[in-house]
């Protein structure tokens, strides 16, 4: 039995960018959508350790997280085990320094950098490039 990812990822580059300590007045969170960067919200809408969902122009959904160290991460919002678009509502954790999100439905964990499922090596979610600007 193999498990394939939800949607074909346009980019699987490691989606982490450190946020500068002295950020400009209003910092926004941006996701790579094709050639462009799509602004999804102000950085201060994100609570460290929690996610939000963003709708992309092509209809896909991204789950965007801020971790405790101030790094941003983004993966496909759909949980490959159930098909529901809920990963943004999962809890963030870290395992040996690597951040993961645990699906709120059946609790499988996904590495936020690679999108790999830590509890089932055949499952994976797409990752997105994300930055604070």
């Amino acid at each position: 039995m193999t498990m394939t990812t939800t949607a074909v990822a346009t980019t699987t580059a490691v989606a982490t960018t450190a946020v500068a300590a002295s950020a400009p007045l209003r910092t926004v969170v941006q996701l790579r959508a094709g050639e462009d960067w799509l602004t999804v919200c102000d950085l201060d809408r994100l609570v460290p350790g929690r996610g939000v969902a963003a709708l992309l122009p092509d209809g896909r959904q991204a789950a965007v997280f801020l971790d405790r160290a101030g790094r941003l991460h983004a993966v496909d919002n759909r949980d490959p085990f159930t098909g529901a678009a809920v990963l943004s509502r999962g809890l963030l954790g870290s395992d040996g320094g690597r951040p993961f999100v645990a699906s709120p439905l059946l609790k499988q964990r996904f590495d936020l950098a690679s999108g790999r499922c830590l509890d089932d090596e055949t499952a994976r979610v797409a990752t997105f490039e994300v930055r604070a600007a």
Partner: protein, 876 residues
């Protein structure tokens, strides 16, 4: 009289050819004897016939009194009928032996049955001694030995008595007095000797015991004899005349003035009995008069000239007799009279040479009669521990008993002084014991055997070790030491016993709770960075500890000064998704909404509002198993709008999402029901409103029934309440779900205020000590001491923490606010209730519905689009 005869045809057809063992008496020792026969394969080679006088097979007489705290006769049973059947044992209930013909080698039973025997084993136990005072047979006089005795006592006490006296202040007398008090009677104890428990304790111990027992509201008359039982015109007890000439008005009398061996059957057939009774046996438990006849248990006069009234020596005799029948070498030459008892909630233990009869021995005594404490160790000339007496605190009993006969590794003074006293409180763990030390004296199991169970038989839990060695399955007093030994052994053999909560914290949930409360830690990050495991500090934590810590912060918020709303500040990042959205996530990403309907009572207007809201938002509605209404299919952005309408109509959150109080179900109760004796609906509403919003290690459920018919199923709840004519009975630790458990009775006939106070304490004690996601049922079975311990703590305040527990609950009650209403008032929190942060008005397209039976259901095929080969993985 009906008899149960498990008469397998194999056994009876072979009977002529096979040797027959007849056992007279199926008590605790008789049953142990049957097991010992089976262990040696003797049940396969012999016909075994058991004549049993009582109407039920062997049961646990030692724990008889627990009947009054809710243990049923079935639960007391020690007999596994499968065992009887499997071994082809012919068990004849209610058919006592009436005569023995030793020349013909037959026994005749009351039914007329005559059984020939090759070997006869007498295990007839004892009968309660009733002093020959006038009036002793009046209506309202009882003894305390069998389940039938207890049923009769209970019936009389409930129907006709408000005051009762127990004649005899020994072990059983105190138990009986405790039972009378538990039945709501004013109880007196009349003891001829100058102190209570004269056999087990000395004057100092007796004084400590007396003080504690009087404080419980029992009246003790020591140094006083009973001269006459006074009766009224109807022949029933009205009082007692005492040796000091005074009269005591009582409605019932329980005689508990010692026991005498039941040796009449033996006397009648010419077997030798002792001067003061007891069938004389030799070291192999064979009667001295007839080598085909054995006597074991309380009816036997052992070779050391004693009759043992305890179960442990009886078990040893059972083993010895079975071994002798199998031609193995075994001897019973006497036994230790160590006992540990919990009488009326007071620990009393004596072991070894408790009265210091050895030559030149010394006593080391610590006594604090104000605190009801008395500890004495008897030390031999060479420093050997010979015995001792512990009253009020018998924690060290298991270890000290096992150390008896050796020189303790620390000074005896430090063993009796309480912890904290200068030079005192030495913690002598079981590691100090030599391998030969007997840890379980009921089954004669040594420390070495217990270690072997772990190392050689690969047992890793206490229940496994119990099964493997039988240790801990008798009186239970060694279970604590057993647990410590198993843990130490596992650690020593390199089995990692990491009790930490998760990869981030090495502490248990209970330890973290204590840290949070004592150090007033209000932030998860601070807790992780200061108290987390090395590699986890500074990190993001994990999905296990975050909600667990969030949960305790929520419970303790008012007490430690943390934010009180679960979505305030950092706390919002810690909540499981359900708590984060204050609703229950469903399989397609939509949510269900459950408003609180306290006690299940709802006015038509409110029902209509729920109907209107569900209709307007297109939600699926269902009556839940918790007597309320669930509305399914709400999208995140709809939640606040749904709540706004509900709050407007006077509803609040039902906390169907949190690990917190769910519902308090009720039956209709005395207001309408012709059987109801109390207003169960009002009580359910009161309780639900009191404990609503209380976060706990797992969800909490409750119910209140208006009478014993129990229509609300309170006995399947974490805390269940059943009305009685006098108030309320409180049951705890019930559970439905996958591993159902019947609740245990914690306390009886409580007033409203007493009920609430006990529940406050019980819940807070559970919250403080349970593991994460551990229901009260599992917790109650896990914690050392179980129900008795919990009762000690919450009813008798044995740890002195009840004030704190009550204060914490009062703070919770005072600070409760509806979580939904609070979100509606806070624009920052409201902002989070959107499907998409960049498109707040757009619904999640994956949340779609199709019709079914006139309502909606999730469009599941939609969820599969783009996900191939879903089947089989989704259910992982």
């Amino acid at each position: 009289m009906p008899t149960t005869t498990t008469d397998t045809s194999a056994a009876s057809s072979a009977a002529a050819a096979t040797a027959t063992i007849v056992l007279v008496g199926h008590g605790m020792v008789g049953q142990r004897f049957l097991e010992a026969l089976a262990e040696r394969g003797l049940t396969a080679t012999h016909r075994v016939v058991v004549l049993c006088e009582e109407p039920r097979p062997a049961y646990d007489r030692v724990h008889l009194t627990s009947y009054f705290s809710g243990t049923t006769p079935d639960e007391l049973s020690m007999t596994d009928l499968e065992f009887i059947e499997e071994h082809g044992i012919e068990l004849r209930l209610g058919d006592p032996a009436e005569s023995i013909d030793r020349a013909a080698r037959t026994v005749t039973a009351r039914s007329g049955l005559t059984v020939p025997y090759d070997t006869l084993v007498l295990a007839t136990g004892s009968y309660p001694f009733v002093p020959p005072v006038p009036g002793k047979d009046a209506d309202g006089c009882f003894v305390y030995r069998t389940i039938e005795d207890l049923l009769a006592i209970e019936e009389w006490a409930k129907a006709r008595a408000t005051t009762g006296a127990v004649v005899g202040g020994g072990l059983l007398g105190l138990e009986a007095a405790g039972a009378l008090k538990g039945l709501g009677l004013d109880a007196h104890i009349v003891e001829f000797a100058p102190r209570l428990m004269p056999v087990q304790v000395d004057d100092g111990g007796g004084a400590a015991l007396l003080r504690t027992i009087e404080e419980m509201g029992l009246t003790v008359h020591t140094g006083t004899g009973t001269q006459e039982v006074l009766t009224g015109e109807d022949g029933a007890v009205t009082g007692m005349k005492l040796s000091d000439g005074s009269e005591l008005a009582v409605d019932m009398v329980v005689f508990s003035a010692g026991v005498r061996p039941r040796d009449q059957l033996a006397r009648d057939c010419g077997l030798e009995v002792g001067e003061r009774g007891g069938i004389a046996v030799d070291a192999s438990c064979r009667t001295v008069s007839d080598d085909r006849v054995f006597a074991i248990g309380e009816c036997a006069l052992a070779v050391d000239g004693r009759v043992y009234g305890l179960v442990a020596p009886g078990y040893e005799m059972a083993q010895t007799a079975a071994a002798a029948i199998a031609s193995e070498a075994a001897e019973f030459t006497g036994a230790d009279l160590s006992t540990k008892l919990k009488l009326l909630g007071v620990d009393v233990a004596s072991f070894g040479d408790a009265h210091g009869t050895a030559d030149g021995c010394l006593d080391v005594v610590y006594s604090d009669s104000r605190a009801g404490l008395y500890k004495k160790l008897v030390i031999g000339r060479d420093g050997t521990l010979l015995g001792g007496i512990l009253v009020g605190d018998a924690e060290a009993y298991g270890t000290l008993r096992a150390l008896t006969g050796s020189v303790p590794p620390v000074s005896p003074e430090s063993l009796v002084l309480p912890a904290g006293a200068a030079g005192g409180g030495a913690q002598l763990g079981p590691s100090a014991l030599p391998d030969e030390a007997i840890v379980c004296s009921c089954h004669n199991v040594t420390k070495g055997a217990i270690r072997g169970a772990v190392t050689d038989h690969r047992c890793v839990t206490v229940p496994e070790v119990k099964k493997c060695t039988k240790a801990g399955t008798g009186c239970g007093s060694c279970v604590k030491v057993l647990g410590q030994l198993v843990e130490a052994e596992l650690e020593a053999s390199g089995v990692e016993v990491d009790k930490g909560l998760c990869g981030c914290f090495g502490q248990t949930r209970e330890e973290l709770y204590e840290i949070v409360l004592a150090l007033r830690v209000t932030s998860y990050r601070e807790l992780l960075d200061r108290h987390g495991r090395d590699g986890a500090r500074g990190g993001d934590g994990c999905e296990i500890c975050k909600p667990a810590v969030a949960n305790m912060l929520a419970t303790l918020a008012p007490a430690i000064g943390a934010d009180t709303h679960v979505l305030d500040g950092e706390q919002s990042a810690l909540q499981d998704t359900n708590d984060h959205f204050l609703a229950n996530l469903q399989k397609n990403g939509s949510y269900s909404v459950v408003p609180r309907i306290p006690g299940g009572e709802i006015a038509p207007e409110k029902l209509i509002v729920i109907g209107e809201i569900a209709r307007d938002f297109g939600l699926y509605t269902k009556i839940t198993g918790g007597q309320r209404i669930d509305m399914f299919g709400a999208r995140v952005e709809q939640l606040p709008r749904i709540w706004a309408r509900l709050v407007d109509a006077g509803f609040e959150s039902g906390h169907a999402y949190g690990k917190s109080l769910r519902t308090v179900k009720s039956c209709v109760g005395s207001t309408w029901c012709r059987y109801g004796v109390q207003d169960s609906v009002r009580m359910a509403i009161d309780l639900e409103l009191r404990y609503r919003g209380l976060r706990s290690p797992h969800k909490l459920k409750s119910a209140v029934s208006g009478c014993a018919r129990e229509c609300a199923e309170a006995q399947s709840k974490d805390f269940g309440v059943i009305a009685t004519a006098n108030g309320w009975n409180l049951y705890v630790g019930g559970n439905g779900g996958a591993t159902p458990r019947h609740a245990d009775l914690l306390a009886q006939d409580l007033s409203d205020a007493e009920l609430v106070r006990l529940i406050d304490r019980f819940l807070m004690f559970y919250i403080r000590t349970a593991d994460r996601l551990e229901r009260t049922s599992v917790w109650l079975d896990r914690i050392p001491g179980g129900l008795d311990h919990v009762r000690d703590v919450v009813v008798h305040d044995s740890l002195g923490i009840c004030d704190d527990l009550e204060r914490l609950m009062a703070a919770h009650v005072a600070h409760y606010r509806d979580e939904w209403a609070a979100v509606l008032e806070d624009p920052e929190k409201l902002e989070r209730f959107v499907s998409f942060v960049n498109a707040p008005e757009t619904p999640d397209p994956m949340v779609a519905f199709v019709p079914e039976r006139g309502q909606i259901k999730p469009d599941l095929p939609l969820l599969q689009i783009g996900i191939r080969e879903m089947e089989g993985t989704a259910s992982r």
